[in-house]
């Protein structure tokens, strides 16, 4: 064993390929998050409306995405979209769609929870100065709800990023899939290379998620301190 395993990373274009894979991962996560968070806010607001049927439908939507594991969701869309609905999308678009819908489901619950916990007198004072429903949400309820639920939303973001690790299952060329290929291609020359390749992927995920969850935690702590006087 002449070659130290860590050099697998510097062999040829391996490192660049890994970062390329990471870029695919980040791109899918980012698009899914933008779409999902926006849709989630809309659904969350709708879930505070009095219409019972609407609320039921949205609740079922949430529960479906809550009950079915994300791996299974990916395969459901991966197989069923082309076969049943005749929609042929590349795998990374399927994944983006699944993550966006899943994010929207979770976000709708966060938003709804925040909206109903805004004190009633806030809603009433808003109405008392003549705001209509749209204005009430726009100027009073949503801003308060957002600051209330920012930590939960950031945590949702970190969850989505971690969940992108499942992309390889439907053959998206994400960082893990690239990693596997690098490992296989270099197995002869670097038998311990697998440790370093998966090691760097581990570090990549940590480097993205840790700052986010640290931020969320700090915000939560500050709020707890404020609440405790």
């Amino acid at each position: 064993m002449a070659h130290s395993g860590i050099n697998v990373l510097f062999e040829g274009r391996n490192l660049i390929r890994l970062f390329g894979g990471l870029w695919t991962t980040v791109e899918i996560a980012a698009v899914a998050l933008v779409l999902g968070l926006i849709l989630g806010v809309i659904l969350g607001v709708l879930r505070t409306f009095p219409n019972r049927l609407l609320r039921l439908v949205l609740r079922l939507y949430l529960e479906f995405f809550r009950i079915v594991p994300t791996v299974v969701l990916l395969f459901l869309f991966y197989y069923i979209l082309p076969k049943q609905l005749g929609v042929n999308m590349p795998a990374n678009q399927v994944a983006t769609l699944v993550f966006a819908l899943w994010t929207a489901a979770e976000m709708s619950d966060i938003v709804r929870g925040a909206l109903i916990s805004v004190p009633k007198h806030q809603r009433e004072s808003g109405m008392a100065i003549g705001l209509n429903r749209l204005q009430l949400y726009r100027y009073v309820l949503i801003p308060q709800a957002v600051s209330l639920e920012l930590p939960a939303t950031i945590n949702l973001v970190t969850r989505v990023i971690k969940t992108t690790s499942l992309l390889m299952l439907i053959s998206v060329m994400d960082v893990i899939n690239v990693g596997q290929q690098v490992v296989e291609a270099n197995n002869q020359k670097y038998p311990t290379g697998v440790f370093w390749v998966y090691g760097i992927i581990f570090v990549m995920y940590f480097a993205i998620d840790y700052p986010l969850s640290w931020w969320a935690k700090r915000m939560d702590k500050k709020r707890l301190e404020r609440a405790n006087g």
Binding site: F195, Y198, F202
Partner: protein, 220 residues
Amino acid sequence: MSSWQIIQQSLPLFEKGFVLTLWLSFLGIIGSIIVGLICSLLKYFRVPVLSQIAAVYVEISRNTPLLVQLFFLYYAFPVFGFKLNAELCGIIGLIFLGGSYMAEGFNGGFDGVAKTQVETGKAIGLSRIQLARYVVFPQGFTLSVPALAANIIFLIKETSIFTVIAIPELTNTALDLIGMYYRSNEYLLVLVIGYAIILIPLSIILTLLEKRVRYGAFGN
């Protein structure tokens, strides 16, 4: 063959996968609760060195995906001579992940006990350990129940990721069958129903439990 026949023929295999999913979840959840409780207690009592180690573990575990953790255990460790079978890797991975989630759940509960409760406890002369035993833990456990319940559901769903190291649990069973017979509709349907059978009743039970403890312990 009709869809119904396809489903019927696959049921014995799914049953095995179902049982394995339940069993691995059970072990993983129990292990996670134990690891989480230990980490949380180390933090609460500020045990030197060990509490710092626990804190580092929690951050690493919480901020990396289970799939990568499993790859590490299953593919990377064997090159250094630690060869474990897939199921053991799965359980260890799930506990490694779940331990930090449970720790955070317990921490949240302990931190959530009102500061005034702690002060009144101090005011009657309770020591730090007595304060924990009679005031913080009983109330903190109650407060942590919703987070623990959510973690339980989460960990059961995470077992679906075991398919990447070929553990024949529910998801793996379905994907194998699809690979062999190309009947994705049927097998995916059974798969979703399989998870629904576990998770719907469980989440109802956990919600009831949450309501009960909330009603039982508070209102002061």
